[in-house]
C-alpha cells in the first residue's frame, strides 16, 4: 500500500513541477493543486451530480445482477436455452454500447431510466459468463454424491452448486460494478442535464478543465469505493475463498 501511494504522490508532484516550470496553460491540462481547489469549491454541485451518477450506476448494477444471475442458471441447466440465448448474448456484447446509447435515449427518453439501462447492458455480461462458468465448475464428485442421495435439482443447486459458484459470481460482480460506472457516464455523455458525465461534457465545452478533472476524480473515487464494497461483501460471504487467495498471495509477495 505504501509503495503505490508514494508513486502516485511522486507523479503528482512531478506533474505540478513540470507544469509550473513550463507554464502549461491551465485550460489544457490543469494543475493537481488547482483540481483539488476546484473540487473543494464546487463540492456541493459535484456531490449532487455524483449522487445522480451513483444512483444510475447502482440501478444498472442491480438490474444486471437481477437479470444476469438467472440467465447464467438457465444457460447452465438447459442446453436448449444455451444454444438459443448464448449467441444472442454475444451479439449484444459485440455491438459497442456507445453506439446503442443514442438509440436507447430515443426509446427511453433523456431521464435516468435510459442511463440505468445502458449501465445494465454494459455490466450484465461478465456476471452471466462468470456465474455460468462457476456453476459449470462444480466438482463432478459432489454432483454424483447428490445424485446418489437422490437430492432434488433445487436442493443440489442451493446447497452445492450456487455456493460453490459464489467466488466466480463475485469476480463477475467486481468487473460489473466498474463497468456500471462507465455505462452510466456514457449514457450521460449522450444526452443528459445531470450527472458527472454531464458535468464533464459541459465543463469542457466552457474550457473549465479544472471542473472536468474534479468530476473525473469523483468518478474514480466512486468506482474504487464500489469495487471495495463488492470485495468486502465477497469477504463476508465467502471467507474461505478470500483465505485461499491470501495464501496464494503470500507466495507472490516478497
Amino acid at each position: 500500500m505504501l509503495v503505490p501511494t508514494g508513486v502516485l504522490l511522486g507523479v503528482l508532484v512531478l506533474w505540478e513541477l513540470i507544469w509550473r516550470v513550463f507554464s502549461v496553460p491551465q485550460f489544457v491540462v490543469p494543475l493537481p493543486s488547482g483540481i483539488l481547489v476546484e473540487t473543494w469549491q464546487w463540492r456541493g454541485y459535484l456531490l449532487w451530480h455524483g449522487w445522480v451518477t451513483l444512483y444510475e450506476t447502482l440501478g444498472g448494477f442491480a438490474l444486471s445482477i437481477a437479470v444476469g444471475t438467472p440467465l447464467a442458471v438457465m444457460i447452465v441447466y438447459s442446453p436448449t436455452l444455451r444454444r438459443a440465448v448464448y449467441p444472442l448474448l454475444v451479439v449484444t456484447q459485440s455491438v459497442p454500447k456507445v453506439a446503442i446509447a443514442p438509440v436507447l435515449l430515443l426509446l427511453l427518453g433523456a431521464g435516468q431510466t435510459s442511463k440505468i439501462v445502458v449501465a445494465f447492458l454494459v455490466a450484465f455480461f461478465p456476471i452471466v459468463v462468470d456465474t455460468a462458468t462457476g456453476l459449470a465448475a462444480t466438482p463432478p464428485e459432489l454432483l454424483d454424491l447428490s445424485r446418489s442421495y437422490r437430492a432434488s435439482a433445487f436442493k443440489t443447486f442451493m446447497k452445492v452448486r450456487f455456493p460453490m459458484a459464489l467466488p466466480f459470481f463475485f469476480s463477475g460482480l467486481k468487473v460489473a460494478v466498474t463497468l456500471s460506472v462507465i455505462g452510466a457516464v456514457v449514457g450521460e455523455f449522450v444526452g443528459s442535464d445531470q450527472g458527472l458525465g454531464y458535468v464533464i461534457v459541459s465543463a469542457t465545452s466552457y474550457w473549465k478543465s479544472n471542473l472536468a478533472f474534479a468530476a473525473m476524480l469523483l468518478l474514480a473515487v466512486m468506482a474504487i469505493g464500489l469495487f471495495a464494497l463488492v470485495e468486502l461483501a465477497e469477504r463476508l460471504v465467502c471467507p474461505w475463498f478470500a483465505f485461499s487467495r491470501e495464501r496464494a498471495d503470500e507466495g507472490v509477495r516478497l
Binding site: 466438482p139 464428485e141 459432489l142 454424483d144 454424491l145 447428490s146 445424485r147 446418489s148 442421495y149 437422490r150 437430492a151 436442493k155 443440489t156 446447497k159 452445492v160 455456493p163 460453490m164 465467502c238 474461505w240 475463498f241 483465505f243 485461499s244
Partner: protein, 237 residues
C-alpha cells in the same frame, strides 16, 4: 449381497466410437466383505463403482443388491473419492452432516453419530474447523465420516487413500497402479477407516492384466512382499 453378472459398460466417445470401459465382470461380494479392485489407471475401476452405485446404467449384464436389480442411484451407499471434495463454507461437523441434509434427515438426530465418527477418525477438537484449516489427510478423513454418517450398508471408495499413503516409489519402476476399493458391511467400513494406518486394506485382491479390473477375494491380509504387490498400497518386497 452385491452381485455382478457379466457386467459390461460401453461409453460412446465424443467422436462416436465405442469405448469399452468394463467388460464382462462377474463378482459376488458377501455381507461384511471388503473387496479391492486393483488395476492400472484407465482400466475401469471407477466406472465399476459408478455402475454398482447406480449412477451409471450398465450396457449389458446386471447388478443386483440383496437380489434387487440396480437401475437408479440409491441412498444406501457411502462414497469416498480420491480427493476429499468437502464444502469449503462448512465446518467439519457440518460437512459430515451434509449427507443427512441431502437425504432429508434430521441433523439433530444424527449429531451424536457424526460426533462419534469424527472422534473415531481422530478429528476430535476439529469439529468447528473449516476444511482449509485441515491437512489433506484430515480432509479425507472428514470425507470418510461424511460417507458413513447415514449408516449405509455399502461403502464405495474410489482410491480413497491416495492422499493418505503417498509412499514414494522408485522412479522408473512399474507404472504405479492404483486401487479402487469397494467395501460393504459395517465390518468393512471399519477396516477402511483404519486401513490407512495399517498399510493397505486387509482382505486383499490382486490383478495385473491391464484393461479389465480383475478381482480375487481373499481373506488373508496382504502382508506379502512380492513383486505383484506393487499394485497395492502396502510396500511389497
Amino acid at each position: 449381497m452385491i452381485e455382478l453378472a457379466a457386467v459390461s459398460k460401453t461409453y460412446r466417445s465424443r467422436h462416436g466410437e465405442a469405448v469399452r470401459a468394463v467388460e464382462d465382470v462377474t463378482l459376488d461380494v458377501k455381507e461384511k466383505e471388503f473387496v479391492s479392485l486393483v488395476g492400472p489407471s484407465g482400466c475401469g475401476k471407477s466406472t465399476l463403482l459408478k455402475l454398482v452405485s447406480g449412477l451409471t446404467p450398465v450396457t449389458r449384464g446386471a447388478i443386483r443388491i440383496r437380489g434387487q436389480e440396480v437401475r437408479e442411484p440409491f441412498p444406501d451407499v457411502g462414497f469416498v473419492f480420491q480427493s476429499a471434495v468437502l464444502l469449503p463454507w462448512r465446518t467439519v461437523v457440518d460437512n459430515v452432516l451434509f449427507s443427512i441434509e441431502m437425504l432429508g434427515g434430521s441433523r439433530h438426530e444424527h449429531r451424536d453419530r457424526a460426533q462419534a465418527l469424527i472422534e473415531l477418525a481422530g478429528l476430535a477438537g476439529f469439529e468447528r474447523k473449516y476444511p482449509w484449516e485441515l491437512s489433506g489427510g484430515m480432509q479425507q478423513r472428514v470425507a470418510i465420516c461424511r460417507a458413513l454418517v447415514h449408516d449405509p450398508s455399502i461403502l464405495l471408495m474410489d482410491e480413497p487413500f491416495g492422499a493418505l499413503d503417498g509412499a514414494p516409489r522408485p522412479a522408473g519402476a512399474r507404472a504405479r497402479r492404483r486401487a479402487a476399493t469397494a467395501a460393504h458391511g459395517r465390518h468393512g467400513v471399519h477396516a477402511g477407516l483404519q486401513g490407512a494406518e495399517r498399510r493397505g486394506p486387509e482382505p486383499h485382491l490382486h490383478a495385473g492384466e491391464p484393461c479389465a479390473p480383475q478381482l480375487r477375494t481373499g481373506s488373508a491380509p496382504c502382508w506379502c512382499r512380492r513383486a505383484c504387490c506393487s499394485a497395492c498400497s502396502c510396500s511389497g518386497s
